[in-house]
Subunit: 393 residues, 2 copies
């Protein structure tokens, strides 16, 4: 027997970290940096003004006060974005904009609001202190400093930092390609004719949606019959992916088929708990560096297994270093509210989950006072395993 | 004067809800349903088995017990996915799979685990009760019931429900197209030559990333000079979008230009707080049904204003009905941890935010014990307005 934490641990141990890929910074959102970002110049690159005002020599402001204003002659202007040729001496000032280069000779910026202009002179009435109003070269960052590290998750803030550093492209970890297929003679897909006896392979789409939400790339391969050759052919197609997820085929009558088709591709079965109760049936194995997950046909059990076992593996594949996320703590009850809502539709899809009577899930819109998911939550609780659930080796 | 809540309220009042668009269910993730989803057939469509076992008449099990087993003749099989022709009488049984149609005459399914087979007979040793093991037609859902409603947010569970109901496409609310541009002679973009005096228009990319994270579609129009004709031409281009966001141009020297260019397109200025302290400068107006936001050039102030004022509007545009999200409560401090990290780089971009001295933000990797964002959070606090911040009308 293997408890959930141990099963998660085994999965993560078998999970590689995918290599890097170069993407535009706007495509790097929610992905993990695969390189350190080093600053290649000082920030700011020169002494610049932190405000609109006047660049002066501090000595010009000696004993200034509201009662004893100082008149400084304006000898030029330093807008943002281009160097100012002027050199400031005692008794002189340069009109300066936020971001403008502090001209030679000046060591202080007096803010616009504390001044007045009159006939080519600026009237100063206070001394802000030497060096005030200036952001000195390298004050924020020195050339060579590392501002972002491999392993950092990219949010809009990091995108802004990268843009500031003129990095249009960055290396991030690749997204896993995830092949998904459902097994079962009785299942149909959108392109098959509808039949009252043949349920839709809804797990295919629910799992693909979970894959998308995890930041990975789903490859929906469709439905495969309960036939060895068909399953081998499907699996052969699925092997181009980094991860293979199957849904269904874990019941007593079908498992042998699934096991054989996996074995024919040399799968190393890491664990399987499919005939043990209580517990959701699931198998995990590897084919080379590829991960193979066999999930139950029951929709909420499949979705829950995804959250508990597969999503942490995806995070590792994509370079996430957060150990909390790895061990399935990212799984939240809220996330799957209403998963059993699908179960109640998915007739013929209950798999090993069968003994409970499917109960009517009331799905009228809850009143705002009750909260939106009140009913759904109640319905799903019965199918949620506790942390003490065990998985068999 | 206008406080933040009142400003948010005014913005939302001016914000329309966008129309609907038909998308594949996998493209509907995280979007808001724009139609009710009504069930078009009973679920299950017939009486089906909830487990693998034997379909029998309950009367055949009269007084059965472990000591007094009953032998029932197996007259056929009902796999999932196709109807079974057999009709069950007393003393007979049909082998049935999970999801298989309950054959005529049968009213109970005995689970496989409680039986044994012997020479064409099934041996039953217990009575599960009449009706057990069966999911009756319409038990989960009746034709005509509404299972999902306009306004529901699509998560993987809803995708599964829609697939189960054979809905490949659904109507969801459209995503807003959001034009973004930065104003400032001194700014450069990736396609301009680098210059130590010309900072990157990093806000363009940070805001585009925020737009993407909100589920909307950014249209990065680039940088525009401090020139009326250039700004009018840029704005004319931006008018194909649903929302226009500008960054910069709110300082004393430049605002008149921005105001004139907006006015030339008939903008109805709803509020502006650009020369009032304390508070982040911002303007909000409408051109027809389009929303226009003027944000400050200071990076963390721009990002914060986005979270507080623009994101709630986006949620409304995209059909979200959650009032909490509308009133900016979606804004979290964590979300912008480290935003001031950009400020420290963005020389020449401090806008009206100028008086504080940009301080050195230590950006070495925090130790795991301290949490990743410890330093960043400290740095950003000084630029965060409290809830009591006021915006001037």
């Amino acid at each position: 027997m293997l408890d959930i934490n141990e099963a998660q641990k085994q999965i993560l141990e078998a999970t590689p970290v995918l290599g890097r890929v170069s993407v535009h910074i706007l495509d790097s959102l929610r992905r993990v940096l695969a390189q350190d970002i080093e600053v290649t110049e000082d920030f700011p690159a020169s002494d610049i003004s932190a405000m609109d005002g006047y660049a002066v020599r501090h000595t010009s402001l000696h004993s200034v006060s509201r009662q004893m204003p100082v008149y400084l002659r304006i000898i030029g202007e330093s807008p943002a974005g281009r160097p100012c040729g002027a050199s400031v001496r005692d008794g002189e000032a340069v009109r300066i904009m936020t971001g403008g280069l502090v001209p030679e000779g000046a060591d202080t910026v007096v803010r616009l609001e504390d001044t007045a202009e009159d006939s080519g002179y600026v009237i100063c009435t206070n001394d802000p202190g030497r060096g005030d109003g200036i952001r000195f070269r390298g004050e924020s960052l020195r050339e060579g400093e590392v501002v972002l590290r491999a392993g950092d998750l990219i949010s809009p803030v990091e995108v802004g930092v990268l843009a500031t550093l003129r990095r249009a492209y960055v290396y991030v970890h690749q997204k896993p390609l995830v092949a998904i297929f459902s097994t079962g003679d009785e299942l149909t897909d959108f392109h098959d004719p509808a039949s009252p006896w043949k349920p839709m392979c809804s797990n295919l789409y629910a799992l693909a949606a979970q894959v998308l939400e995890s930041g990975a790339v789903p490859l929906c391969l469709g439905v495969v019959k309960d036939d060895l050759e068909a399953q081998k052919s499907m699996l052969s197609d699925a092997l181009r992916a980094d991860v293979i997820i199957t849904s269904g085929g874990l019941s007593k009558g079908k498992y042998d088929l699934v096991r054989k088709s996996f074995a024919s591709f040399g799968m190393d079965m890491r664990f399987s708990n499919i005939f043990v109760k209580p517990g959701k049936p699931m198998i995990f194995g590897t084919i080379g560096r590829k991960l193979v997950f066999g999930l139950p046909g029951n929709p909420s059990a499949a979705m829950l297994s995804f959250e508990q076992f597969i999503k942490p593996a995806f995070l590792k594949l994509m370079g996430h270093q957060d150990a909390d996320a790895f061990h399935g703590r990212s799984y939240s009850r809220d996330h799957l509210n209403g998963a059993s809502l699908i179960d109640s539709f998915a007739h013929g899809n209950a798999g090993n989950h069968g003994h409970h009577r499917a109960s009517l899930v009331p799905m009228g819109r809850p009143s705002p006072a009750n909260g939106r998911s009140g009913q759904k939550q109640k319905a799903v609780d019965c199918s949620k395993p506790g942390r003490s659930e065990r998985v068999t080796h």
